[in-house]
């Protein structure tokens, strides 16, 4: 009983400390001494999701290399706006980092008045994880490839994705504009709901991240017919890319990347970048990421910046073509 009480007290303390995060001043150690205390990483999603799991997996060895722990802080909500707003209150001292995703580049065009400007307020550190989406059908439907599906369902094609404004949903919009103009996109609340819809056969096609549906794919509950990466996914070498399946210009690769406040010392960014690159190059992380269907792959801040800008442009076009009004 006492143990339980103690454990409980610890939990309470932990919850409490998560609440009052260290906004305290940096000691005068300077850049060379960084880091002198744990580094906070804000994750704009709840625990258990892809961004959370990959960041926690990579965060542990990264903390060992840096000599201080990385403390993950989940701030889900409002498509990342809540997390980014929190980030703006942090100092540019390298002790607070944030995970951004390609969803952030969508938000740039989707929301009218964001309380921040990513390119002016934040700077990239490095990409962490890359992941493809997959197009899935129900095995009972009998469709072996995309062409067969499009021929059979043509104008009546029904596509299930998660909520509007998500990468999955806008990828469906992109797919619709390139392959099947009169398709109906049906939004569901969560990935399990999308899976359920496909299992019931109430939709013809589902578009979601490979990671999220890996279990269902491995169990042959659903059949992947196309991957959205530019090259085939090593986990599913038999499944063609969209280009191979006859839809040119349909590429979607999602990413998670670490960002810092603008004005953070470049030496700190550099140090983080090199350490992330070496962590992501280890066999352990590569295999653990691969098990999740994710590719571990760092890049330079410049490359990340370019990718960010080109993705903003890409999704802006999709949003305009789909006739979605900014919120």
């Amino acid at each position: 009983m006492i143990t339980v009480l103690r454990l409980f007290t610890l939990m309470l303390l932990a919850a409490f400390m998560a609440g009052c995060n260290s906004e305290d001043n940096v000691s005068a150690g300077g850049v060379d001494a960084w880091p002198e205390k744990p580094v906070r990483v804000i994750i704009p999603f709840g625990p258990g999701g892809l961004a959370d799991v990959t960041m926690r997996l990579a965060g542990e060895p990264l903390g060992e290399l840096l000599g201080e722990r990385l403390v993950m802080e989940n701030r889900p909500g409002a498509g990342g706006v809540a997390a980014t707003t929190t980030m703006l209150n942090a100092d540019a001292d390298g002790y607070t980092l944030i995970v951004l995703t390609n969803g952030t580049t969508i938000a740039e065009s989707l929301f009218d008045d964001l309380p921040y400007n990513i390119t002016e307020d934040l700077v990239p550190v490095s990409a962490v994880a890359w992941f493809d989406l997959v197009l899935l059908v129900n095995p009972d439907s009998g469709y072996k490839d995309l062409q067969a599906l499009l021929e059979a369902r043509g104008d009546n094609l029904r596509i299930a994705t998660i909520n509007p404004g998500s990468t999955q949903n806008l990828s469906a919009e992109l797919f619709k504009s390139l392959a099947s103009n009169s398709a109906t996109i049906i939004p569901y609340r969560t990935t399990p709901d999308v899976l359920g819809a496909l299992l019931r056969g109430e939709v013809d096609l589902a578009i979601d991240a490979y990671t999220a549906l890996k279990g269902a794919i491995d169990n042959n509950q659903v059949t992947p017919i196309v991957v959205t990466g530019e090259v085939r996914n090593p986990a599913m070498p038999d499944i063609p890319t969209a280009v191979e399946a006859g839809i040119t210009e349909f590429f979607v690769t999602g990413w998670n990347a670490l960002y810092a406040r603008k004005g953070t010392d470049p030496a700190i960014i550099n140090r983080l970048n090199t350490n992330i690159a070496s962590v992501l190059a280890t066999d352990d992380i590569r295999t653990r990421f691969a098990e999740l269907g994710v590719e571990a792959h760092a890049n330079t801040p410049q490359e990340m910046q370019q990718r960010f800008l080109s993705d903003i442009e890409k999704w802006r076009r999709v949003i305009e073509a789909a006739g979605i009004d900014p919120l």
């Binding site: 709840g46 258990g48 909500g77 409002a78 049906i186 509950q221």
Partner: protein, 502 residues
Amino acid sequence: METLSLLSMGFEQALTPEALLFCFIGVSLGTFIGVLPGIGSLTTIALCLPLTFHLEPLLGLIMLAGIFYGAQYGSSTASILLNVPGSAPAAITCLDGYPMSRQGRAGIALFITTIASFTGGSFAILLLIFFAPVLADFAISFSAADYFSIMVLALTAASTLSVGSPLKGLAMVSLGLLMGMVGTDINSGQFRYTFGIPALADGINLVALAMGLFGVAEILNNLTEGNVPQAGKEKITFRQMLPTPDDWKAFRFSCLRGSFIGSFIGMLPGTGPTIATFMAYAGEKKLSKNPEKFGHGAVEGISAPEAANNASVQAAFIPTLTLGVPGDAIMAVMLGGLLIHGITPGPQLVTTDAALFWGVVASFWIGNIILLILNLPMIGLWVKLLSIPYRFLFPAVLFLICIGVYSVNNNSTDVLLTLVFGIMGFYFNRHGFPSAPLLLGFVLGPLMEENFRRALVLSDSSLATFVDRPISAAFLAMTAVLLVFSFRRKATLTDDKAQPAP
């Protein structure tokens, strides 16, 4: 027979000293956070998830699951003693649990909820053991139209939730439905009623609403009226905790009905225990020969929801483990935990990882027995809580509510909202507006709207889909029967009044 031998293998896995230890840690932690108002199992499980990365998958899952169902045991304790629910599903237990406590029957109420929890949990575990694959296929076959019709039935049954004026009850349901609309519309992605507050973009937080309306409002109420909960001076003996024969009679079938409703709702992905407990309560009141005793300490009013609560969380494992379709956020976190270990739940889990599957299932039962042993002797201790002077008790409760609400999304706006809802709830109480219908409308409204619109998209805008689908048609028929009975009953009641005895 094969099931039994697999189950005995499961018990071998779950009875190792390590497994027992982690099961004990999980359920004890669960009970504690369950008792504390606002701090829910989602937060605790999320905090403990990283700990399990270094554990064997079976041990990790046993512990996380233990927190989940353990929390349901504790969640009614504060509802009964303080009229402050430990979690949103336990809000309904306040309605009859707290009156029991005021009648000096707190010990009996806690005893009954513990036994009801155990029965509900065991009922769903039996379903999981013997019928999981069949039930999972059945649950997943429910389409948007079916969900809508279930919600219609739930909302109709809920008309009984209000105690006083039916009009006030209706007003509160409508207000709940409206509040449920706040947030991002799932179909169009547009914000509704968010007033430019980013914290509202994902809707009003259920925990904030429940804790405000039931917890903070109750504290305000007590402070203004000087009407504080008190324990009797004498020591509670085991005898005083034992329900009377009449209590047992009321308990027996209501508990079974609650277990059934809870298991059914729990299996359906996307519903959750709050709907299960509210439906179980509404069902009991509809069935009862003396509905007027509800709200004044009816045993059925705590045993059915409590059984439903535990049955629903245990039944939620059915689609999660056998289909890989998690029913709610908590199940999704646990699924994430399994994925990290390279285990993919689904139809093949039962064969490929049989030891894990049956080990976890066996641990559920062990956990429920530990909870029973842990909770019964604690009753006296909990009742003693009431002997703490209220001026010390209420700041502690308020503090815990704040931490609990904050921890759901790490969002301070939610804490402020809790205060706002608390003040709202205080005025509702003052003017006889019941809060329970509001909470139910809030939970059901968005689900109804979402599924109604989705059903129409899927049927190319044909309303016939609601009667063409057999499941949906069955639930609509039940709703019609319920309505006819309510009106006939009402008619007979007025007839009786119209013709006074000569």
